[in-house]
């Protein structure tokens, strides 16, 4: 038959090799993407477990302890929202890398619970996914390494542009601002942020 002729066979093989290579590439690229994507929530989850331990140790020693030896940030506080059963460890905002492991206290913030504005940011699709369920009146509890405990009540949520955002320069009370990207279900990066403002509850 004609298809057994060597010339034809060689051409056919070449023809057959092309789609194989194409599909192989698709498979590999796809798997890489899956891996890349999956690493983020995995890292986020695992880091929180390690951080939880480091936080407990920090609290007992009274000074911050690194969660892993090469970490460039330290746990500073635990934030929890009882209604949403959320409890996460906040990192000191050293570099942008810290955001992968947990919510970070953004540089320029006042210490949480002190007079001034503390801004805590985290990814909308990992640690701060719960922000879409946050309602005015929700109680946010922040527990610091030193054992201080501050309660805040959510005043409201606002959508802001990151280049049009400012905090009060002369605050008279502790204010906590939680920030994440907006919209929550978007897949692209943008200038919009969702911020929730919480005022300190007077100590009972």
């Amino acid at each position: 038959m004609k298809r057994t002729s060597p010339a034809n066979g060689k051409g056919g093989r070449r023809w057959r090799a092309l789609p194989t290579a194409g599909f192989m590439t698709l498979l590999i690229v796809g798997l890489c993407l899956v891996g890349q994507g999956a690493v983020i929530p995995a890292k986020a989850l695992l880091a929180q477990v390690l951080l939880e331990r480091a936080f407990a140790r920090s609290q007992s020693t009274g000074s911050p302890v690194k969660a892993w030896p090469w970490a460039d940030t330290v746990p500073v506080a635990r934030i929890s929202v009882p209604r949403l059963k959320v409890s996460e460890i906040i990192l000191s905002g050293g570099s942008g890398e810290a955001l992968a492991f947990g919510p970070t206290l953004v540089p320029g913030s006042a210490p949480i619970g002190r007079t001034g504005t503390a801004v805590v940011a985290a990814h909308r699709d990992t640690h701060f996914r719960f922000m879409q369920d946050l309602r005015p009146g929700d109680v946010v509890i922040v527990e610091s390494v030193t054992g201080d405990r501050a309660s805040f009540r959510i005043q409201g949520g606002y959508v802001v542009r990151n280049d049009r955002f400012a905090i009060a320069s002369r605050a008279v009370a502790p204010v906590l601002i939680l920030s994440t990207c907006w919209p929550f279900d978007a897949n692209t990066r943008g200038p919009w942020r969702y911020v929730a403002v919480a005022q300190a509850k007077p100590r009972a």
Partner: protein, 711 residues
């Protein structure tokens, strides 16, 4: 071909091959579909990212740290100035071009000379010209708001400060251009034999102190473009038709390149060399007379049943050499954020020049202020060489940043330890750009505490607040000098220091012979070297003469002016009214008349002379609605340029002031820009698209393998 070949062998493989192919094609389609769907999904999200209206959130959404963005409405301004004798008629045409697809209301904040009288508004919409009418402020606002709601084109001119106005234009159609033409009358200034006028072109960002009304602070503030990111906006072209009545020489514009064309007789036409310039610094034009300046210049105008008179009386030049008096000088230097850049350099140089001019018998002190204040010495000290050296070093290390709390500095400067010391003249010299919005408080404090101190204002920078400067100098019985360029420091400061030595003419009085007249200003100022007395008057029938008298260098001096010599003047009546309005405003701040009385007087003058004042506004409304019902109206505040020489970061990107300020919470906290980090990983997108791709790849490979095994 292959199909027919295979068909000859057996029927089985054909169908199998067909099935495989169909499967493959279907798989590919599914893959393409899923990938497109994914990208569609992200596209949809991307669109969702920009909501139509920014969600406003009280104090959280503040002005942009990177400066404003250029607006959809673009503005071009043309100024046509006609100088006749000693008055200038200025026609300002602002073209608002809407480049967007929406109906827009544009708001533009702009400066005018504080002694100018805005008396005409015309609006051109398409082929129609609508003439504006003067109304009480609230009524005008109501007319405008109603027209705006009904979709009719409307224009409104409101005064925010005597030198700061707002134009609102409602219902500019998509792609449409609306022209707003305002006209004002302003006096030509004369100083030391030189004539000139100033066209302010930009309002510098003003500092509103804590406790100031939030509404007022908002009205005197506009978005500002960062000059490093955006080219200058709001271009302005200027034409000056100069007809001073004498042959002008030495025509100069210190801050803009100009072109001068000689006309018939003594007329000159002056235009900008570049055609137009961005409005980021004030335009100034000065000229001299080839002949000797006359001692008296008289202009008159008859409006309705009244005569109006403007007289410039120059005191004779003092012939004898005057020994400067022994003085106590308090220098107050502004080192707030708005002074950063060129202004701070000019202020420092000026201060140092003044310090070096002190004689050892003088006493002096230096006060610097931003939102805090420091006095160099507890009380004024003798100007010994060491003290001067200390003050010079102090001046050198000043840096501009922070807010502008001028009031405490003024109060401190007015504290007089030796109020009975007649042998020493007490003078306070302010070096500032006056970028504050609490002018009223300043004037009231100065009026109440001035004592024997005289206040001299040195306006610094490309767009100083001349209203504050002139009124402070007037209430403080001093003088105002402007330094707009570092090159001017030496000449202007030397002239000021010369004038500082002593007022030439004091205790001025005016007496009319034959008929009564209402004079303005009501309180005549003291005159310094080179300053003429500018007198405005209204009388039912102006005849006879007036006598101006006073003390010249401590000796009685008087001058009789024959009113028959007066030549026809343009706009004298408006200038008289404007000056009376200023008198009422000053009188109210000094507590001489009540607020109600001032408001009544100002409103009446505004309505009678059709002048925009704080109580009256001009409003123009188109009769036919243009915006279709249902179409929404976008509101835009036109951004302003930063005045030339200002440092944007020092004003808008100022680093956070130290955390524990002991001040109260305010509603008008300017806020500190805060960077919110990027907090989206998009891991879900990455995972799902990865899964999709892997699925296609895997399926494809599976099919190929099955096919190969079969063959």
């Amino acid at each position: 071909m292959t199909l027919s070949l295979a068909a000859r062998r057996s029927p089985g493989p054909i169908s199998r091959l067909r099935k495989d192919r169909a499967f493959l094609v279907a798989g590919l389609w599914a893959a393409i579909l899923s990938v497109t769907m994914l990208s569609f999904a992200s596209l949809a999200h991307a669109r969702q990212l920009a909501p139509d209206n920014e969600v406003t959130s009280g104090s959280l959404l503040l002005r942009a740290r990177d400066g404003a963005t250029p607006s959809a409405v673009q503005l071009g301004t043309d100024m046509d100035v006609t100088v006749t004798g000693l008055t200038a008629r200025v026609k300002v045409v602002q073209a608002f071009r809407n480049t967007s697809r929406d109906w827009v209301e544009a708001t533009y904040l702009y400066p005018l000379p504080e002694d100018g009288a805005v008396d005409s508004l015309k609006m051109v919409v398409g082929q129609r010209v609508i003439i504006g009418e003067i109304n009480r402020r609230a009524a005008a606002r109501e007319i405008y708001e109603q027209a705006k709601a009904e979709g009719r084109a409307a224009g409104l001119v409101e005064q925010q400060r005597p030198n700061m106005f707002t134009n609102r234009v409602a219902n500019i159609g998509p792609g449409e251009t609306v022209l707003i033409e305002i006209e004002y009358q302003a006096p030509v200034r004369r100083l030391a034999g030189e004539y000139g006028f100033r066209l302010p072109l930009v309002v510098g960002p003003r500092y509103a102190p804590p406790g100031a009304s939030a509404a007022d602070a908002a009205a005197t503030r506009a978005p500002v473009l960062d000059p490093r990111r955006h080219a200058g906006v709001n271009p302005v072209s200027i034409t000056v038709r100069l007809n001073p009545g004498f042959a002008p020489t030495g025509i100069v514009s210190p801050y803009h390149a100009i072109q001068i064309v000689e006309g018939a007789g003594s007329t000159r036409t002056i235009t900008l060399k570049e055609g137009s310039a961005p409005s980021n610094r004030d335009f100034e034009l000065r000229w001299r007379s080839a002949e000797n300046a006359p001692g008296v210049e008289l202009f008159r105008q008859r409006v309705r049943a009244d005569d109006y008179l403007m007289a410039l009386v120059s005191p004779p030049e003092s012939s004898r050499r005057r020994t400067p008096p022994v003085r106590e000088l308090v220098f107050v230097i502004d080192n707030s954020g708005s002074m950063s850049g060129d202004s701070m350099r000019q202020a420092k140089e000026s201060l140092k020049l003044a310090l070096r001019s002190l004689s050892p018998a003088d006493r002096f002190n230096v006060i610097r202020f931003d939102d805090s204040m420091t006095e160099l010495f507890d009380k004024p000290v003798l100007a010994t060489r060491e003290q001067i050296a200390l003050a010079l070093r102090y001046a050198d290390q000043l840096e501009a940043s922070g807010g502008t709390e001028m009031l405490p500095a003024l109060r401190a400067a007015l504290v007089d330890d030796t109020p009975e010391d007649a042998g020493r003249v007490r003078q306070v010299i302010f070096l500032t750009d006056g970028s504050i919005s609490n002018e009223d408080q300043m004037l009231a404090a100065l009026g109440a505490n001035r004592g024997r101190s005289r206040v001299f204002m040195v306006g610094i920078g490309s767009a100083p607040n001349t209203f504050l400067m002139n009124r402070m100098a007037e209430v403080g019985r001093g003088a105002y000098t402007h330094i707009g360029d570092t090159r001017e420091v030496i000449t202007r400061m030397s002239a000021l220091l010369e004038r500082l030595t002593r007022p030439v003419l004091t205790d001025l009085r005016v007496v009319t012979h034959g008929g009564d007249a209402e004079f303005a200003p009501a309180n005549l100022p003291d005159l310094y070297e080179g300053e003429p007395l500018v007198l405005l008057a209204r009388a039912s029938n102006l005849r006879g003469s007036i006598t101006v008298s006073g003390m010249l260098d401590g000796r009685p001096w008087s001058r009789r002016v024959n009113l028959n010599q007066a030549v026809e003047g343009v706009g004298v009546a408006k200038l008289w009214a404007r000056r009376r309005i200023t008198d009422a405003e000053v009188g109210q701040r000094l507590g001489q008349i009540s607020a109600e009385e001032a408001a009544r007087t100002i409103a009446q003058l505004g309505l009678d002379f059709s002048i925009v004042t704080r109580e009256t506004s001009l409003v123009a409304v188109d009769r036919t609605p243009s915006r279709p019902q249902g179409a929404s109206l976008t509101e835009e505040e036109l951004p302003l340029n930063l005045p030339a020489g200002w440092d944007f970061d020092r004003i808008f990107g100022a680093p956070a002031p130290d955390g524990d300020r002991s001040s109260k919470a305010e509603t008008d906290d300017p806020g500190v820009p805060f960077d919110l980090p990027q907090t989206a990983t998009a891991w879900a997108l990455s995972m799902w698209s990865g899964l999709g791709l892997a699925l296609i790849g895997g399926l494809g490979l599976m099919i190929l393998r099955r096919r190969r095994r079969r063959l």
